[in-house]
């Protein structure tokens, strides 16, 4: 671990050195006396990149004034209040592919402000998910999210367990490749209240995202081409039944319906959960003995399949430039700098996933050549997982539909309604919302 930390530190410092060289070499423009006001997402994993802003300031002569730094949910509320009050003259804002469609008219179309060859250097899927109604609303940073399967390796190294599983389920116990296998194994491994087979996000957008990707994996979809809800199809019912069955079998903690990402991460790190679909940001945390009882026992595999395809709900962070910004040229330069190849190399050295093709390749090559097999294993799983990634529907109402749908999903999971009743009720309410919003 110490070795790998040293290696990382060396890599990071090399990256920083390379970056400072290139910051001077690259032409970020000259904006003497200009001050760019920015609203950025705050948090440990995002801060490293902001440390580099000083280099852009030195190269351009401009200043960056970070007027707000909060979690994305808080910054979302603040931006909505700004839009209501008309106080949108700040220039650069953190954005996210799931939130971007909500801010109608706030952000500039970057396709006309950023060079086409620069845009082509990003992963096309990420650029697609950053584009709403033909407008490129943000440039992606090295914070791409898709979930893969984390598991406790020890469960697959016990001959007695393997034999008992084979006898009960009729197939060999191995790291699951389908969600049906996850269900079987989760029920098999569970020993509540001391140990659980798996867990899932149980409220807010988190559970709807998980349900959405399950529906897609089962061959269905959330909305059709006219934005009409179709998640109450057979595929949707199969998807929700998976959540219900695990809850009924007590293979997930009873409180899972109130869990979101932190609870799930802490749960797996406590070593009391066998299988956990989770985001890339947790990889280092799960395998660090300081923070995780599962450290050294964590395996990472590509996310399992439904009956049709693999799950792959994804999203990514990015930076946008407001339409009301007084100095868009300088703001675009800052966004270009924060999402440049050097910035992405530096940011993804901390374990997050990049959104530039060249940085993906460099990271995979570095991991294969390095001496940290866990890093290589997880990066390979995420690289494979990213191939199946898809974003949420790019409509402003996505968030609002999740607030309608999640209580209904919970009602089915807790047994207040049948799967069909819950999905039909949710679809009816989403249908009303879509009508009110003028889609049909």
């Amino acid at each position: 671990m110490i070795k790998s930390n040293t290696l990382r530190a060396l890599l990071a410092s090399t990256a920083v050195f390379a970056v400072s060289e290139s910051a001077l070499a690259s032409d970020w423009g000259s904006f003497d006396g200009v001050t760019i006001e920015a609203k950025l997402i705050g948090g440990q994993q995002y801060e490293g990149l902001y440390g580099r802003i000083a280099e852009w300031e030195a190269a351009t002569g401009a200043k960056v004034d970070i007027i707000s730094k909060k979690s994305h949910f808080e910054i979302d509320k603040e931006i909505k209040s700004d839009m209501a009050a008309g106080t949108t003259s700040w220039c650069v804002g953190s954005n996210h592919s799931s939130f971007a469609p909500q801010y109608e008219g706030l952000y500039a179309d970057l396709s006309g402000l950023v060079a086409a060859e620069t845009i082509a250097e990003f992963v096309p899927g990420n650029i697609g998910a950053s584009t709403v109604d033909g407008q490129l609303l943000m440039l992606p940073r090295a914070q791409f999210d898709v979930s893969v399967l984390y598991y406790l390796k020890s469960n697959y190294e016990d001959a007695d367990k393997a034999a008992a599983f084979q006898a009960e389920y009729g197939y060999e116990l191995a790291v699951p490749d389908t969600w049906d296998q996850v269900k079987d194994q989760a029920i098999f491994f569970s020993d509540p209240p001391n140990f659980y087979g798996t867990q899932y996000a149980g409220k807010d957008e988190a559970i709807v995202g998980r349900f959405y990707e399950m529906v897609v994996a089962e061959g269905g979809n959330y909305l059709d081409g006219d934005k009409k809800p179709i998640f109450n199809s057979d595929a949707g019912q199969r998807a929700l039944q998976w959540f219900v069955d695990l809850y009924d079998a007590k293979a997930v903690p009873a409180g899972t319906t109130s869990y979101v990402w932190d609870d799930l991460g802490q749960g797996f790190a406590s070593g009391t959960v066998a299988l956990n679909l989770d985001w890339p940001g947790w990889a280092g945390f799960f395998n660090d003995p300081e923070s995780s009882k599962a450290a050294g026992n964590v395996g990472v595999a590509v996310q399992p399949m439904g009956s049709v395809t693999r799950t792959g709900w994804s999203g990514h962070h990015g930076f946008s430039v407001t339409n009301d910004c007084a100095n868009q040229e300088a703001a675009v330069s800052l966004v270009n700098f924060l999402t440049s190849e050097d910035s992405q190399l530096a940011e993804s050295a901390g374990g997050s996933l990049p959104t530039r093709s060249a940085v993906w390749e460099a990271n995979v090559a570095a991991a294969q050549a390095g001496d940290d097999p866990f890093r290589a294993e997880s990066l390979a799983a995420f690289a494979k997982g990213a191939e199946f990634a898809f974003a949420v529907p790019a409509i402003p109402e996505w968030g609002e539909t999740t607030n309608i749908v999640f209580p209904e999903l919970q009602a089915a999971i807790l047994g207040d309604k049948t799967v069909q009743e819950a999905l039909d009720d949710a679809a009816e309410a989403v249908d009303e919302l879509m009508r009110e919003s003028g889609y049909y």
Partner: protein, 297 residues
């Protein structure tokens, strides 16, 4: 030439009128107006689109809103009554203490000093089904199960009521204690001479005298609990499956997360009914209680 001058009383009141208009009246009129529009925070232009009573019609036929309304009334009734009983008990006991009473009074007020958000986090941890104090204590006593305190409908309502009561019982205790301090000793001594039991003295002399104080505390707390938000939002967020959804968790999600401020404001105006009804009820009770102890109607 004589100039018409504004009356002095009006000039003197003008600063207060301006301040009240700016911070109360204008926002009130604005929110009332916006409740007749489809106002979305992310689409400021919707503020100028008049939709009449559409939002109100939507709310009146919305089962989820009325379920939250009913749940708020239930929550209010349970929390208020238990707080009153516990507060009365604490006040009577503190009143009996002859040594260290001031320190005790300060200690009684401690829970009120915490921020509701902090109290919410504290009880969210205490009632967590997996790592919470309550379940761990139960398990260490040989009860081998994880009770879903914040998931089961009844347990979840109990948990948030417990947190609310823990924090605010002292409001009742302090107000009732003030009543006990202000109470004349003569009727109690006369009752003792007449041979009344302690229970009879409490039931027929102390309690009637305390009722005005209790109803004032009830009025203040009913307005507070009808707006319960922080603790519930932190502990359960109104869930799961809307099992603990109260008016204000529903309204804040509609207004700030879904950005539908017009609809949220309409919900706010409908829910004011609740506060008005409770306030009128308690003020009537207060008047009757004052009349009973000869303090005029």
């Amino acid at each position: 030439m004589t100039r018409r001058r504004l009356p002095e009383w009006f000039l003197l009141l003008l600063p207060a009128i301006i301040v009240i208009a700016a911070v109360v009246l204008i926002p009130l009129i604005f929110s009332l107006y916006s409740s007749f529009t489809p106002y979305k925070l992310t689409r400021p232009s919707t503020l100028w689109k008049w939709v009449g009573t559409y939002n109100y019609e939507k709310i009146l036929t919305d089962a989820k809103f009325w379920a939250a309304f009913g749940r708020t009334v239930l929550f209010l009734t349970i929390a208020l009554n238990l707080e009153m009983l516990l507060g009365l008990g604490i006040a009577v006991m503190v009143n009996k203490v002859t040594w260290g009473q001031r320190t005790l009074r300060t200690i009684v007020m401690f829970p009120m000093m915490f921020s509701p958000i902090l109290v919410g986090f504290q009880f969210k941890f205490i009632f967590n089904d997996n790592i919470g104090l309550v379940n761990n204590a139960l398990q260490s006593m040989g009860f081998n199960a994880a009770l879903p305190w914040l998931v089961d409908g009844k347990l979840a309502l109990f948990s948030i009521a417990f947190a609310e009561i823990w924090m605010s019982t002292s409001v009742f205790a302090i107000l009732i204690l003030a009543g006990l301090f202000a109470m004349p000793r003569d009727p109690l001594e006369a009752a003792k001479v007449d041979g009344c039991t302690p229970w009879q003295s409490f039931r027929h002399i102390t309690l009637p005298f305390l009722m005005p104080f209790i109803f004032i505390a009830m009025t203040i707390r009913s307005l507070d609990v009808a707006r319960a938000y922080d603790i519930v939002q932190i502990m359960t967020g109104g869930g799961p499956a809307r099992r603990t959804e109260l008016l204000w968790t529903l309204m804040s999600r509609t207004g700030y997360v879904d950005a539908r401020m017009g609809l949220a404001n309409a919900m706010g105006y409908v829910s004011i009914i609740l506060s008005v009804v409770f306030t009128i009820y308690f003020f009537r009770k207060l008047t009757a209680a004052r009349a009973q102890i000869g303090m005029g109607g």
